[in-house]
């Protein structure tokens, strides 16, 4: 080892140079966590069962249509539980034909029960299919949210799947968390449903809606009193057109009222369907429903061939912008629920950074002075090693794009305390060897080699705890584990390798030296 002085010096120089290169300029290279730079951390739970339910219902609808097309009378098709479908038939003529047809139209279902006398067939979605739908719902949800966030314009967002059906969304530097959350969390299921004007909604409320229809509400807010009123509408259960047929959406301003509204362009098939729908229903009202709330229910005055619809409803400019975004990005395949939210304002983040820097500087200074005071020249070497440790720690974080969080700052402070521990271990050992009568050279050799085993031991135990913490942790806590582990690992290089090198350089040629500044 002693003969490789040149190579060892070169290694240290290279490491320092590479670190400095990675780290420059610090403000751009260090990735700050949301708790330091401000922003939103959201964990969304995708209600995957709802996606399965919707898929089962859609399958039921298409089965019903197909059966009727083949002249088999269907009384009702119902979803039972999450995955079961109950088909009730009107006195089936040929039972075998019925079963074959059902098998043909619904290949992804298993038959649970077929009661010829009652004319009832019960089906259940194949388990593998259910799992597929769930998986797809999460993946599509992730994609849709990513689209929305991109269009909203957030710098460096992070959107990832977490566990089986959770989505982690991190938006740094967002100023208006409520708006961002509304934008991300909205299902945005757009439906155009014909209003059933044969029955008064009030009457339907009393007696229950007639079959095939449902009651939905429009929320109207009185602008002066801010009072909210719910107006009921009786609409067809089946949507005539949905948001799937939307090609694009944008905000426009009404020339007369100067209120913003959202203009929706359908794709080719949607445009045709819309033209047909308006043609067949002139004079009737069409409800525009978003996530189960009626936005407006304008009367159809004439056939609309342009394939363009307008959604009005007293929006603010932000609301209209966001609605256009979610309509463009498409609906979430299943509703999402906020399971966890952590929002930090920019001012708190700035305070945390300031206090964190003060704490790190103060503890560095204190440990510096202590080492200098207690070990004199050797203490100076340890101090330089400590400085090197901090440099490498930050450079590795920059190089791996690790995130510095507030607990991460605590990890750095702790590293400062623990990194010099390694030097203390070695120095105490050298002192002991000197007291035992060894020469300076011998004491240094023995000190480093004997202490090394202990140093490794102490590092391993802290690393074990750090690894478990990293495995377990979320965001900020992970940041703590990261800085702690890097700091501890780096101290092997700085406190052992680098310190040894300096000792060798200082005392190597001096075989007759009798005192050591330690």
């Amino acid at each position: 080892m002693r003969r490789q002085l040149g190579a060892r010096i070169a290694l240290v120089v290279i490491v320092v140079a590479v670190s400095a290169w990675y780290l420059y300029p610090p403000a751009d290279t260090i990735n700050l966590g949301l708790d330091l730079q401000g922003g939103i951390h959201l964990v969304l739970g995708v209600e995957v069962d709802k996606a399965v339910e919707a898929q089962v219902e859609r399958a039921g609808d298409s089965a019903r249509a197909e059966l009727e097309k083949r002249g088999i009378g269907v009384t009702r098709v119902e979803r039972r539980g999450t995955t079961e479908l109950v088909i009730q038939l009107v006195s089936p003529p040929g039972w075998d034909t019925v079963l074959r047809t059902i098998e043909e139209v619904l290949p992804v279902f298993d038959r649970r029960e077929a009661d010829q006398a009652a004319g009832r067939v019960v089906l259940a979605l194949k388990p593998g299919e259910g799992a597929n739908i769930r998986e797809l719902a999460v993946r599509q949800g992730l994609e849709t949210i990513r689209n929305r966030v991109d269009q909203f314009g957030v710098a460096e967002p992070s959107i990832q799947q977490q566990g089986e059906n959770r989505i982690l969304v991190q938006l740094p530097g967002v100023q208006d968390p409520a708006r961002a959350k509304a934008l991300i969390g909205k299902t945005a299921l757009l439906e155009f449903k014909m209003v059933d004007e044969r029955t008064e909604p009030e009457a339907a409320l009393r007696t229950g809606p007639p079959p095939g229809t449902e009651i939905l509400y429009q929320r109207r807010v009185n602008k002066e009193t801010r009072e909210e009123r719910k107006v009921p509408f009786l609409v067809q259960k089946k949507a005539a057109i949905t948001g799937r047929d939307v090609a694009t959406a944008r905000v426009s301003i009404d020339q007369n009222t100067s209120e913003p509204y959202v203009s929706v362009d359908f794709n080719a098939s949607g445009g045709r369907a819309f033209a047909d729908l308006t043609d067949a229903n002139v004079g009737k009202r069409l409800a525009i429903v978003l996530d189960g709330n009626v936005h407006s229910a304008p009367q159809i005055r004439e056939r609309i061939p342009s394939g363009r619809a307008q959604i009005t409803g007293g929006f603010t400019s932000d609301e209209a912008t966001d609605l256009a975004i979610v309509l463009r990005a498409g609906a979430l395949p299943a509703p999402v629920q906020v399971l966890e939210e952590r929002t930090v304002g920019p001012s708190l983040g700035a305070d945390s950074i300031r206090q964190g820097i003060i704490a790190i500087l103060a503890s560095t200074a204190l440990v510096f002075v202590f080492m200098l005071f207690y070990y004199r020249l050797s203490g100076v070497i340890a101090d330089v090693a400590l400085g090197l440790n901090l440099l490498l720690l930050m450079a590795i974080m920059a190089g791996f794009h690790a995130t510095l969080t507030l607990p991460g700052i605590a990890g750095i402070a702790l590293t400062i305390g623990m990194a010099v521990d390694t030097n203390i271990l070695i120095f105490e050992r050298i002192r002991e060897e000197l007291r035992g009568g060894k020469t300076v050279r011998g004491a240094i050799d023995a000190g480093f080699s004997r202490a090394f085993k202990t140093v490794v031991d102490t590092h391993v135990t802290v690393l074990v705890a750090g690894l478990i913490l990293f495995q377990f942790g979320t965001g900020p806590v992970k940041g703590f584990a990261v800085t702690l582990m890097i700091g501890i690992a780096v101290s092997l290089f700085t406190a052992v390798f680098f310190t040894r090198l300096v000792f060798d350089l200082l005392y190597m040629g001096q075989r007759k030296r009798e005192t050591l500044s330690i």
Binding site: I358, A413, V462
Partner: protein, 313 residues
Amino acid sequence: MIQLFRDPSFNFIGRRRWAYLISILFILVGVGSMVAKGGLRYGIDFSGGTLIQVRFETPVAVDRIRRALETVQMGDSVIQEFGDAREYLLRLPLAQLSSEEVTRRTQEALAKDSALGKHEIRRVEFVGPQVGRDLQIQALYAVLWSMIGILAYVAIRFDLLGGVASVAAIVHDVLVCLSAMSLTNREMSLAILAAMLTIIGYSVNDTIVAYDRVRENRAKGGRRKGESFEVQINTAINQTLSRTVLTAMTTFLATAILYLFGGKVLEDMAFVLCIGVFTGTYSTIYIAGSLIVDWAGWRDRLVARRKKAVAKA
């Protein structure tokens, strides 16, 4: 040369009964305070709920905030001063309301009350019941796994006895930290859990160092005839005392600075680190070392008794 201790020869192990007593008393007081306070307080990370940190332009009294919150049916919030009289933490238990609704209502209530002056919502944290439960379970696993990991490491590196004693010392440290938290009314949070896991990794360090020294002394043949295990451990602890105290001191200094200057958000975490570094060092000397001695002594007596029984027969 400045030296903390010059050839120290304190009789640590000999006074171990006192140490046991002190530890047990402190933990009893801590557990008592936990019981009296209805269990350890969990922060929203584990219990779920909504936390809002709000800063006013001018100092405000707690009553004023409560009255404002009462107007939106949120008078049952826990309102806690945070740093100074301009900054408060509002905490709401899990309820039917979503976090958006809670934030919106809070903002509305605070804005309506003109006496409160301007305010800024600086932090909102919402943890749903599912996440809270998940975190509780994961936290438990994290603590268990780290203990198993350390037990395994020490057992492989030295022997099972050392491993068990180290884990006993760790359990002691965790209990002391929890007691200190309960006595100072601090809440269990993710950051505190992180601090505790760190302490688990740190605390065992000194034990390893002392234990390693015992082995080294034996290898050197330094064991004089008739020297008991108790004396060996005590010697090792004394020989490594300077480094034990010095390393604890530097780490303690760093965490104490963090506690003093690191800001309110990190305060609890830094507090646990400080306590942990202290008790980690203490438990090395008294809990781990003493337990090894007591256990070895008990084992030797058992062996001796068996031998006697065999001899009689």
